[in-house]
């Protein structure tokens, strides 16, 4: 397992990132953690329809998204708001989607991120096709896809990995092994020792990294991205991490895991070791931290306001994105729907 920055903040070898870049990514991690906690709180108040917190996985998501080019494709899941934001998906849309407003699924034109996938497994194939389209059009883009340890049991994981390898496509398969698929522990999900070694079955490189280690995640993903961009095909990365919170806000993790296990992982907090690293280089101060947190809060509060200001599709617009042009039966049904609400 690749580790470059230990939980106590020691760098093994040369730091792969400049202090400056490390500061920027630390800042990003503070922002996404603020977002995550805010969303979990909003859900408890009934202001979000559902929420899948990613606390503990910040380094995995921020560190893997950081080396992407802005036009690279990203196909991620419900738990990957941090990665999606890194790739340009605005806070307010990430939130709007979670309030139950379809418009949250539409990123701005310049953002090449698909709406988050709720179904487990199927979306990996989309990254394979997107990488193909990039190659078809002679673009330099690659595609990255995010999924969990549980998703590796789905047939579509297998088909996506195999097809990407068969056609030598520029895909990075980024697995956040957060030890659980809802209540199912990773060890019961599959009997392979690591998820990374599943790559062998496809003749693809596979690498396991400490997913709570920003440096290791960044380094391994940057290499995979380079390989993909150079036309040398796909890579599977297993980022070993931990979901500190519940699966979603309606899950009760005490049913399937011990608090002591959670405690152990808290001690491997992905932000803390970067903080120590920066602090030891005089690049972190409590004041800066405070400023970051305040800025993040303000930014996210504003996003919440924007998202909550969106009023949903309403009775007419639920029909209007089924097809490019509304076919006659939907014209009729829309009229019926409007009549039924007195419009």
């Amino acid at each position: 397992m690749l580790q470059l920055l230990t939980p106590s903040g020691d760098v093994l070898g040369e730091p792969p990132l400049s202090v400056d870049l490390t500061r920027r990514l630390y800042r990003a991690m503070v922002y996404v953690r603020t977002f995550d906690r805010k969303c979990a709180a909003l859900q408890k108040q009934g202001r979000l329809a559902t929420y899948a917190p990613f606390e503990g996985q910040e380094a995995a998501q921020v560190g893997s998204a950081a080396p992407l080019d802005p036009e690279d494709w990203m196909v991620a899941s419900y738990r990957d708001a941090a990665a999606m934001w890194m790739q340009g998906y605005p806070w307010e849309l990430l939130i709007a989607w979670r309030t139950g407003d379809e418009r949250g699924g539409r990123p701005p034109e310049h953002v090449s991120v698909l709406p988050p996938s709720i179904t487990v497994g199927g979306h990996m194939l989309h990254a394979v096709g997107l990488a193909w389209s990039a190659r078809h059009f002679g673009e330099e883009r690659i595609a990255i896809t995010y999924f969990g340890d549980g998703a590796t049991s789905e047939g579509d994981f297998h088909e996506a990995m195999n097809l990407a390898a068969v056609y030598g496509l520029g895909v990075v398969f980024f697995c956040q092994n957060n030890q659980y698929a809802i209540s199912m522990p990773r060890t019961a999900q599959t009997r392979s020792e690591t998820i990374a070694e599943k790559a062998i079955a496809y003749g693809m490189p596979g690498v396991q990294v400490d997913g709570n280690d920003l440096f290791a995640v960044f380094t391994a993903t940057a290499e995979a991205i380079d390989r993909a961009r150079a036309g040398d095909g796909p890579t599977l990365i297993e980022a070993v991490t931990y979901r500190l919170g519940p699966h979603t806000t309606s899950d009760d993790p005490s049913r399937y895991r011990e608090e002591s296990e959670v405690e152990q992982w808290r001690r491997r907090d992905p932000l803390e070791r970067v903080r120590i690293f920066l602090s030891e280089r005089d690049a972190w101060t409590p004041e800066w931290q405070e400023r970051l947190e305040t800025e993040a809060s303000t930014e996210i509060e504003r996003a919440v306001e924007l998202a909550e200001g969106m009023d949903g599709l309403g009775p007419a617009r639920i029909f209007e994105a089924m097809f490019d042009e509304l076919p006659p039966h939907l014209v009729d049904q829309r009229a019926e729907a409007l009549r039924s609400v007195g419009q």
Binding site: T119, A151, S153, E154, M184, Y256, G312, L330
Partner: protein, 325 residues
């Protein structure tokens, strides 16, 4: 006799099935340690152990295909698919294998198994969590399709499904899990598959529905009653085999029919009901049959879901239209 919710009735039914039939096992994602995302299997793994109540990897095709093998081998697997929208990866196994093995082997091998799926909207869930695609199973020869709307029926139909020699798709209305309560016989009992229930007698119009939409349908009958319209309410309970006799008898009596479901309209179950009525009871009809259904769209997310699901108002209006047609 205790007063139970639909969720509790199902839990009790599953517990009794495990206790009575050593060949029954429950399989699904998170059904064991957590008792399922809706807690329908709560406590069962503790009581019967992890060999009878089995947590599975995230692999719907695998779960169903493996359960199929278990059933052929003589067991009675009861599979839980976490939400109906996640049954699609298992569609091939269900259509090409589960539904066919009896015919492929001329009765030599059979797949007596139950595939339980929470279905339907109304709880503001995420994408793919509000599906009501019973059509795809109803249209598949070789499957029975059951959709209870009441706790006692749920328990009784589940017992019948477990004992049925053929595969049963068992659809559980999510939004009724904890929204309806009634007294449910403590002892194991069965409700026969294939019998509709005339919930309320009436003379002016027949309201036909099943599962989750029974709630709004019953309410609509109340509203109509207040307005002096006598509605007969039919809870189909089983879509395959359909109790065509009771359905047609009711329509022949009232001369008018409104069928209600939340599935999309085109080739939703209402199409079959309307077709049967037109074919076999045309001369009794005093007005065109009406379909009050979900639209031919994706089920909207929380903020707009209300514009999709049939409302009491829509049902009442449709019934009234049949009376003025």
């Amino acid at each position: 006799m205790a007063v139970l919710t639909l969720a509790q009735a199902l839990n009790q039914g599953l517990e009794q099935a495990l206790a009575e039939h050593p060949e029954v096992v429950i399989l699904g994602e998170d059904v064991g340690r957590t008792g399922g995302v809706f807690r329908i299997t709560d406590g069962l793994q503790r009581r019967f152990g992890p060999e009878r109540v089995v947590d599975t990897p995230v692999a719907e095709s695998g779960i169903v295909g493996m359960a199929f093998g278990m059933a052929v081998g003589g067991m009675r697997p009861v599979v839980e698919i976490q939400f109906m929208g996640f049954s699609y990866p298992a569609f091939d196994q269900i259509v090409n294998h589960v539904a066919r093995i009896r015919n492929r082997s001329r009765h030599r091998f059979t797949a007596p198994m139950v595939i339980r799926m929470p279905y339907g909207g109304g709880i503001g869930a995420a994408e793919h969590h509000s599906e009501s695609t019973e059509t795809i199973y109803v249209h598949t020869p070789g499957l029975k399709v059951v959709v209870p709307s009441r706790p006692a029926d749920a328990k009784g139909l589940l017992a019948s499904a477990v004992e049925d020699p053929d595969p049963v798709i068992f659809l559980e209305p999510i939004r009724l899990y904890r929204a309806v309560r009634e007294t449910v016989p403590e002892d194991p009992h069965t409700v026969p598959i294939g019998e509709a229930s005339i919930e309320r007698e009436g003379t002016d119009v027949t309201l036909v529905s099943y599962g989750a939409m029974m709630k709004e349908t019953r309410q609509a009958a109340e509203v109509l009653a207040e307005r002096g319209v006598s509605a007969e309410v039919v809870d189909l309970r089983t879509l395959v085999p359909l109790d065509t006799d009771r359905l047609l008898a009711s329509v022949e009596k009232t001369g008018r029919v409104v069928v209600v479901h939340e599935a999309p309209r085109t080739l939703g179950f209402g199409a079959e009901v309307a077709a049967l009525v037109a074919e076999r009871a045309l001369y009794s009809l005093q007005a065109p049959p009406k379909r009050v259904t979900g639209w031919d769209t994706v089920v909207p997310l929380k903020k707009s879901e209300q514009y999709y699901l049939p409302s009491v108002g829509r049902i009442v209006a449709a019934a009234e239209e049949t009376l003025t047609a």
